[in-house]
């Protein structure tokens, strides 16, 4: 086996960008980070509108798939895509519950074979729970009720998949 070669890093970016006068501190103070966080707060309404639109689309698609099982596979693709997006953004906008419910939904939607009524019901419950969190603007981790909900999803998924 040939020896590994260690290649020194290029210092080009450091040379170009690191200085003592202009820009953000390498070790930022809390007020500097707060300034950057305002960008997140300013996008919060867009995030809520985006999730609401995705959930509306999923509810309509779920209703169609329940009438016509041939649409099921396409529905699962859509569910995975939307769940992935919500999973990835919820916590950034201080909706970690959205992230956790979407994480569960993304995982089960990836394991669906042919639909069975129980699995479809659990998928519907996930989407309904996302609706409630969004509609009630439940930010942060929620309380005991929310923890029990996540545990209930975990148990239902473990039992039915």
């Amino acid at each position: 086996m040939a020896k590994a070669q260690i290649i020194p890093p290029s210092m080009e970016l450091r040379r170009r960008a690191v200085n003592s006068k202009k820009g953000f501190s390498i070790n930022p103070q809390p007020e500097e980070l707060k300034k950057i966080e305002t960008v997140v707060h300013q996008s919060s309404d867009k995030f809520i509108a985006s999730v609401a639109a995705a959930l509306r689309a999923l509810r309509e698609a779920l209703a169609s798939a329940e009438k016509d099982p041939a649409r099921w596979e396409g529905l699962m693709v859509d569910i995975r895509r939307h769940a992935f997006d919500i999973k990835g953004l919820g916590g950034t906008f201080d909706y970690p519950l959205l992230t956790e419910i979407a994480r569960s939904l993304h995982a089960v939607a990836g394991r669906m074979g042919d639909a069975n009524p129980k699995q479809m019901a659990i998928i519907r419950c996930h989407i309904d729970a996302l609706y409630v969190v969004l509609a009630q603007r439940i930010q942060g981790s929620g309380g005991k009720l929310e923890s029990e909900l996540l545990e209930a999803f975990r148990l239902a998924v473990a039992k039915n998949w």
Binding site: A2, V18, S20, K22, F24, N27, I36
Partner: protein, 184 residues
């Protein structure tokens, strides 16, 4: 053509912890060209807005990996931030292409994987394919900022081995005081 920095840019002989960076140093993000690769418009816009707030002015946004490769081949990017779920090449395949194809224009491009595929197996795979930094979504501003500082101000040496080309995966340089028993 492989791009290696000339000897004049060789990493100092001191270890990373000693070299460090000064506490009063700043990063001028206007000097860095960013490429965001993410099919989700909201995620892309959020990242773009954060980079703009930091002072970055050269930020390209693409939703697919073919366009990302075109930007990289044109030599127009200094740091790439990519999601895993991208098409037609996934983010991990994109990293593989940058790191391991003979005609890659910049095998040592700093790459931050910013993805909702946050489970440990994804972190491990990204690391073993040569990602520079990994950040799970949902992310905090603080965590994102630290990754940016890392790739710009604290670049790591690269390892060129039989089965791996990418940043040194050892995150701490710990001096070894024992006997060197590696076979030559």
């Amino acid at each position: 053509m492989f791009i290696y920095p000339p000897a004049s840019e060789a990493w100092p002989s001191k270890n990373v912890e000693e070299c460090g960076v000064g506490l009063s140093e700043k990063i001028d993000f206007s000097q860095i060209r960013f490429l965001i690769v993410d099919p989700n418009p909201l995620s892309t816009e959020l990242l773009y807005d954060i980079l703009r707030m930091l002072g970055a002015i050269a930020i390209r946004k693409v939703a697919d990996s073919n366009k990302a490769l075109a930007v990289i081949k044109a030599g127009e990017v200094d740091v790439m931030i990519t999601e895993w779920i991208v098409e037609p090449l996934s983010g991990i395949e994109l990293i593989d292409t940058v790191r391991n194809t003979m005609h890659s224009p910049n095998r040592m491009l700093p790459i931050i994987m910013l993805t909702a595929n946050s489970e440990p197996e994804y972190v491990i795979e990204a690391r073993d394919r040569g990602v520079t930094e990994f950040l799970a979504k949902p992310f905090t501003v603080d965590a994102l900022y630290r990754r940016l500082v890392s790739v710009i101000a604290r670049p790591r040496p690269f390892v060129n081995a039989d089965e791996y080309f990418g940043p040194d995966r050892r995150r701490r340089q710990v001096p070894h005081r024992g006997q060197n028993r590696r076979a030559d």
